[in-house]
Amino acid sequence: MTSTEITYAWAINHAMDEEMARDPRVVLFGQDVGRMGGVFGVTRNLFEKHGPERVRDVSIVEHFVVGGAVGAALGGLRPIAEVQFADFLLVAGDESFHKLPKWRYMHGGAFTIPVVIRAPSGIQGGVGAEHSQSPEGHYWHTPGLKIAVPSTPADAKGLLKSAIRDDDPVIFFETRRLYRVKGLVSDDPELLVPFGQASVRREGTDLTVVAWAGMVPEVLAAAEMLAAEGLSIEVIDPRTLVPFDWETVAASVRKTSRLLIVHEAPLTMGPGAEIASRAADELFVELDAPVRRLAGPDVPIPQNMALEQFCFPQVPEIVAAARELIRW
């Protein structure tokens, strides 16, 4: 099967297009996803191809985008719901923290909820405190939700296809900074990227760095610079946080004896704390240096780009932290 070089956004579009063609139960809805093709253009052409019944524009109504998806799933559909920004998902707090993850459990397993919520996240430049967050940790703290955090076009497509075919609810975080990044993506409509299987983005022996979504390109750039100094970095992209491929991380740390976690979400109670804690617990004797986290600062994200640039770990910081851990 051939591959084509397409953008991350277009890979997401193809995943939806193929799955909608494959399964008539798959529907897409959200604000401006229809005629307009999505606020970031990710759903372009789907309205024309799959029709207004299956690609639906809604009013400004996040409660319904998430709650209605639960109901549509109860009614036998496999809905993909888009919120324009991951930040807006918090408007539907009850629906995303209670209904989506709990409807199955609190009814004793009577229902399956095959819902995908697509949530564009992360800092993109100048859109401020309510359009820039990376809230994956909130959802990781909520039992009953699967979480995808793709960093490449190929993974975005393959993971979204897996998400759509999954019988459990998935929050699918799309990194807006990556929408225009291109990569080779298989044209095979049956090529899925399974959940719970990390990708080793770069092999190395001196330090393990775990990063996902928009931080993967930054970490890879740092690793490249460190290689010039003779330092060998292993970069692990978990690709999904739930389920989390701990085995791949643990095997890497057994090899490198050092672990750095890099994420965009704020440091305190961020997702890195969970990974660091587990490493301290299970890999204590393997470690030759403290487990370190690099993350966004504990502040709301300012609109001003001169300040915003400090709100996620930058390549020089990653390089410095890596050097320090390797020389510990």
């Binding site: 409660h63 319904f64 009953g144 019988d167």
Partner: protein
């Protein structure tokens, strides 16, 4: 409700089963056999029974945390309901949901909830699904007067009307938003019906203690939805005989008001209208009590869930 003379007794018996069930649930809580909370529907039986007679099999129903009456009227076996409230493995949710989440998928009871108003978007989503699966079902969504001040109510009603979805909304207006008189917190007399016009819907107010009026209104609304003419919003006036939850005696309500509504009791109202003698009504009551007691005995004898049940039902594949 039909030409069959025994049909009256069947309707009465349904309401009496609910009444007796609720009385037993109250005792179970008072006796400390169940922990947590429960929200009883004594006095509101006619809404549930009228609704159940109007709906078709397979019509999805989403009801509230005060939902024993809706689920029982829809056919939930009493033993299954008791077992759930008692936290037994044989309960309709395996003992994980409790009083506020009674459900039974095989009866198209699609779940109940404990956050006010949060099931309305879910019900609208289910109704949307029917337009794509063409299953011919009409979704029924029941909520209380207090729900009408929550955003979800307005948001979901708006889309249901715009999309002309096959759904019937029933507001059980029991005059109290938990412990607060609804009149104190909304600027209109009818919290649901007076807002219907905002969504292009008819203003429908019915006597929710009149089981026949409920059945008629829901049947008409169902017919309309089924014919592709969109949703209806029915406000059914009724009254809680008790307080909001198990520990609440409802003392904040004026005595005259309580007495007035007790005199409008849906069971005696229906019995009087159909000239069912006091003696016969008592016999039917005893029949209902017996059935309830038998169901309760079985539920009490059922085992609690095994400890490993704690971790099941989070994921569709247990190995996830």
């Amino acid at each position: 409700m039909t030409a069959n003379p025994h049909a009256h007794e069947h309707v009465l018996l349904q309401m009496l089963r609910i009444r007796e069930f609720e009385n037993r649930v109250q005792s179970l809580f008072s006796d400390g056999l169940v922990k947590g909370s429960t929200h009883l529907a004594n006095g509101q039986e006619a809404v549930a029974v009228g609704m159940a007679f109007a709906l078709h099999p397979g019509d999805p129903v989403l009801c509230t945390y005060r939902g024993h009456h809706h689920t029982i009227a829809r056919g939930l076996p009493l033993e299954s309901a008791f077992a759930e409230i008692l936290g037994r493995a044989t309960g309709c949710c395996g003992g994980k949901g409790g009083s506020m989440h009674l459900t039974d998928k095989s009866l198209a009871l699609m779940g109940s909830y404990a956050i006010i108003g949060s099931h309305i978007p879910i019900a609208v989503g289910a109704a949307w699904a029917s337009t794509l699966t063409h299953d011919g079902a009409v979704t029924c969504c029941i909520f209380g007067d207090g729900t009408t001040t929550i955003g979800s109510f307005h948001e979901a009603l708006n889309l249901a009307a715009v999309w002309r979805l096959p759904i019937v909304f029933i507001c059980e207006n029991n005059l109290y938003s938990e412990y607060t008189a609804i009149g104190d917190v909304v600027p209109i007399e009818h919290p649901a019906a007076d807002r219907a016009g905002a969504y292009g819907l008819d203003r429908i107010v019915i006597d929710g203690n009149d089981v026949e009026a409920v059945k008629e209104a829901v049947s008409l609304a169902r017919e309309r939805a089924s014919a592709g003419r969109g949703p209806s919003l029915i406000e059914a006036l009724t009254y809680r005989h008790g307080g909001h939850s198990r520990a609440d005696p409802g003392d904040y309500r004026p005595r005259e008001e309580v007495e007035l509504w007790l005199s409008r009791d849906p069971i005696s109202k229906y019995a009087d209208r159909h000239e069912v003698s006091t003696q016969r009504l008592e016999q039917l009551g005893a029949e209902a009590r017996d059935e309830v007691d038998r169901a309760l005995r079985k539920a009490l004898a059922a085992p609690a869930p095994a400890a490993e049940a704690l971790l099941s039902n989070v994921w569709s594949e247990e190995s996830s």
